[in-house]
Structure formats: C-alpha cells, structure tokens
Amino acid sequence: MSQLRARLFPYLLVGPYLAVFAVFIGYPIVRAIYISFHDWGIFGPNGFVGLGNYASLFADARFWSSLLTTTQFALIFVPMIMVVSVVLAVLLHRTLPGIGLFRTAFFLPLVVNVAVASIAFKWLFEPQAGTINQVLRLLRLPDQTWLAEPGWALIAIALIALWGSVGFMVIILLAGLENIPDDLYEAAELDGSTPIQNFFFITLPLLKPIMLIVMVLSLIQAFQVFGEVLIMTQGGPFGSTEVLTMLLYEEGFRNFAIGRAAAIGVIITIIIAALSLVQFRFFRQR
C-alpha cells in the first residue's frame, strides 16, 4: 500500500500542472496545426483543404512581402541588440561609482509593458513636438516624420524593441562575464595587453557561447514582434511594417480567415525552429 503511494506520489505532484498545461498550451498548439489544414471561418470549419491554406499563402504577394518585412526587421534588430548588449554588459561588468543606478537605467524598461513603451516612443518620434526632431532641429539637422516614412518606421520599431529588451540580454551576458576568470586579464596585462585587446582576444571568444544564446533569443523575439507594430504603425505606412504576426492578426481576428491565420502561425513556428537549430549547429562546430 505504502509502496503504491510512493510510486503515485510524483504523478500527484505533476498531474495538476500537466492537466492545465495540456488544456491551455498543448491542445491549442495541436489544434492550431489542425485548423491550418481546414477552411475555417468565423462559425468554424467548412471542410478539410489539406495544404490549401499554405498554397494560397505561397501564391499571395502580401504574404511574401510580410515575410520579407519580418526578415528585414530581424536583420536590423538582431545585430543591433547583439552589439548594444555586449557593449553594455562589458561596461557594466566591473564596479564603478554609481554602477547600481546605471544598471537600474537599463533594467527598468524590463518592467514597462509594450503599450507604455510604444506610447513613450510615439511621443519621442512625434514630428512636431517630439524630442528627437527638436534635438535634430537644434543641431540644424533635417528632421523626419519617422513613423510615417516607410524607410524609418521599421527602424523606429526596432529601437523600441531594443530599448525594452536590452536589459534582459545584458543580464544573460553579465552572467557569462562572471564566469571568465580574472587571472586571464591579469596575465594579459602583465604581457602589456590593452583593454581593447583584452576585449577582442579574451572577452569575445570566451563569451561566444552566451552570445549564441542571446542571438537565438533575439531572433525568436524578432520573428514574434507584434505589440509595437500594432500600436505604432498598424503595419503601415504603405505596409512597410506589416510583419508576419500582424498579417496573422489581420487574417484571423479582422477577416476571420482563421485557417489561413493558423497556417501563418505554423509557418512562423517552423521558421523559428529551423533558424534556432541552424544557428546552434553552425556555431557549435566552430
């Protein structure tokens, strides 16, 4: 009897979690895949269409354009956050007067939600009274309409995402920096190595595994960017910020083409999984 209880014990502990997990995470994922193979409207399924939703997406110029926009966003965002977070982590690693305040400045955006961050940046980018244009005018540089310009809007959105997430990446990188032994730097300095040389020949190579994690995480984030786009530009101007998640939202929750929306979701998932795998394979080998 007591042996049976001992054997059941783990399942009693994990059971409630797994039940809730199955209903609210497992089932929705499996069902989204199922929906993506159906013609599915506001009142439910209108029949199985196989790969029909995928085929119609691949024949749709708007899908390709939003895939391209998402890729462009990733190509702007990922290098930007990699460089800024590595620089910040190295600057914040060793103690300085006021280091606590400096860290707080970069970590505080972690508790600010995407709606508030977008409102703050919309205000900064405001063409007339916004701080950025005012400073540009003070410096006698040409001002921009930022969010109304196809060339700038995606960059502006990348800046909000950078502002909000760099703290998280810095926290991860700081943990990596702590694992680099101090004697390496001391030995290098005895040999006359400069701080810049230390950075390129000690810090960067030893930080590479953590930088890989930061890269994969920021890539996943880039392919899921949504709230900033919805609030700042709604996909505009002229569709220049219509990323895949925005297209999914439009199709699923405005046009009620739920089968198509599910297919876009599956495609985003496959892209994220494939890119993560490729990065781990490619960089692990070196």
Partner: protein, 275 residues
C-alpha cells in the same frame, strides 16, 4: 575612481541618459496642459495635475483606468497564486523525483517555450468562445496558469538542494509529502519569491492574449486599455492624458522593480534557481 574608469563612466552616463529619455519625456509631459505639447520645447513650461485627474475619472473612449487597474490586479493575484500552486509541486517532481517518462515530459513542456504565443492564441479564442468566457477576466487568467518559465527556475533550484536534510527527515519517519511540504518548499523560498515576482510582472504587462480576448472597456487589462486610448485617431489632442495613463498604470510595476530588482534580475539569469 581609477583614472582608467573615467571614459567608461562617461560612456555609461551618456547611454543611461539615452535609456531613461523615453520615460523621462513621457513623465514630464504627463504633467503638462494639453496646449503645451504643440510648442517647441523639451520640458513643459506649465504644469498641472489635470491629466491625472482625467486618468482617474474619465480617460476618454469610455475607458476607465481605475477599472482596468482593478482587473489587472485581480488577474495578477489569481495568476501568481495559481502559477505557484501548480509550478512548485510539478517542478519538484521534475527536479527531485524519479518516475518513468519524466525526461520526455519535461522536454515536451520545454519545447513549447520556443513556440510563438500567437500560434496558441488562435485556438484559445475558440476554446474560450465554447466556454462562454470571451471578454471576461477568467479568460485572461486561465491560459496564463501553466507558466513554463516558473517550472524551469524552480526545477533547477530543487535539483541543487543538498540531500542530507531530506535523508535526515526520512530517518525520522517523514513521508514523501512531508519531505516536500516541510523541508523542500521552505528551502526553495528564494526561488519561489523569484517566480512570484516574475509572474506578477508577466501578468500585469502581458499584452497579446488580453488584447484578443477582451473587447469591452469594462474587462480590459491595463496595457490593453492604454493602447486602446492611444489608438484613437484624435489621440494627439489628448496625448498628455494618454501619457499620464501610461505612467500611472506603470507605477505598480516600477515600485515592484525598485524593491524587487534583485529577484527580477536573478530570475532572468540563465542560471536562475542556482544560488
């Protein structure tokens, strides 16, 4: 200060000022009368509390910010309690107990962390519609309960707790459940606080799912209500009120951050859960 540190300090100062600029500008102009915002000035020249009065009484578009904050508070308490009640025992079973299928099940749970939330949202909406819960706080609360991040942090913490106390308790005749409840859970207090604080943050700030499942101002959460205000085409006229709403609704999380920064930062480290 060491002379080598001066350039580093200056670079950090410039970057830190840049980083607080968006919130600083938002806070400054949340105290400006709406006529101030079309002038060319970096700091408002007149000050007023009236935007905050509007936030508390009538923020516009039928949105009640106090109601949204109440909704978010209820959702936050329910989710933090629910997440801890579900995650603590499950993480203990994953990290500390042996049972067939454990590693496979843990792998399945972990894999879903990589899945984009927007994939789940499509069928969750359907599910909530079937249950008649669309546009209710229950629909916001339920899908947030199985937090995988919490499992991950707590499991790592349980794994590295020493065996000795557990063995001593068993010698004294403690049952499996007593070992868990009376020894392991109290020892895991730091990890439990970390998961609690991170869950509170997640709950208050979560945007995508509450946006999709709520549609009437009465059931909106804070980020949804604030973004709904800013989506008004005439928003620029009321922009100082929107700025005030944005800052006012962020205050609970800013206060949580100022007191709990240590827990938040530790919880986000890749080694979270390891002391």
């Amino acid at each position: 200060m060491n002379r080598n540190n001066v350039p580093r300090w200056l670079i950090l100062l410039v970057l830190a000022l840049l980083w607080i600029l968006p919130m600083a500008s938002l806070i400054l102009f949340s105290f400006a009368p709406s006529s101030e915002i079309l002038k060319d000035q970096l700091v408002p020249s007149n000050w007023t509390w009236s935007n905050y009065w509007r936030v508390l009484t009538d923020a516009g578009r039928g949105v009640s910010i106090p109601q949204a904050m109440l909704n978010s508070a209820v959702i936050m308490v329910a989710q933090v309690v629910g997440i801890l009640l579900l995650d603590i025992p499950a993480a203990y079973a994953f990290g500390r107990l042996r049972w067939p299928g454990r590693d496979f099940v843990f792998f399945l749970v972990l894999v879903t962390m990589m899945m984009p939330g927007i994939l789940e949202v499509i069928s969750l909406y359907d599910l909530m519609a079937n249950w008649g819960l669309v546009d209710t706080v229950y629909a916001v609360i339920l899908p947030g309960l199985p937090r995988v991040v919490g499992i991950f942090i707590l499991r790592q913490f349980f794994q590295q707790l020493p065996r000795e106390m557990e063995e001593a308790a068993r010698m004294d005749g403690a049952t499996d459940f007593q070992v868990f409840r009376l020894i392991m859970v109290p020892l895991a207090a730091p990890a439990i606080i970390t998961v609690g604080v991170l869950s509170a943050l997640y709950s208050w700030n979560n945007f995508l799912w509450p946006l999709i499942i709520t549609n009437s101002p009465a059931s909106m959460t804070v980020p949804v209500a604030v973004s709904y205000l800013s989506a008004d085409t005439a928003a620029i006229i009321n922009y100082t009120v929107i700025l005030a709403a944005a800052f006012f609704t962020s205050l609970p999380m800013i206060i949580l951050f100022l007191f709990g920064q240590r827990w938040i930062v530790n919880g986000m480290r890749p080694t979270a859960g390891i002391k």
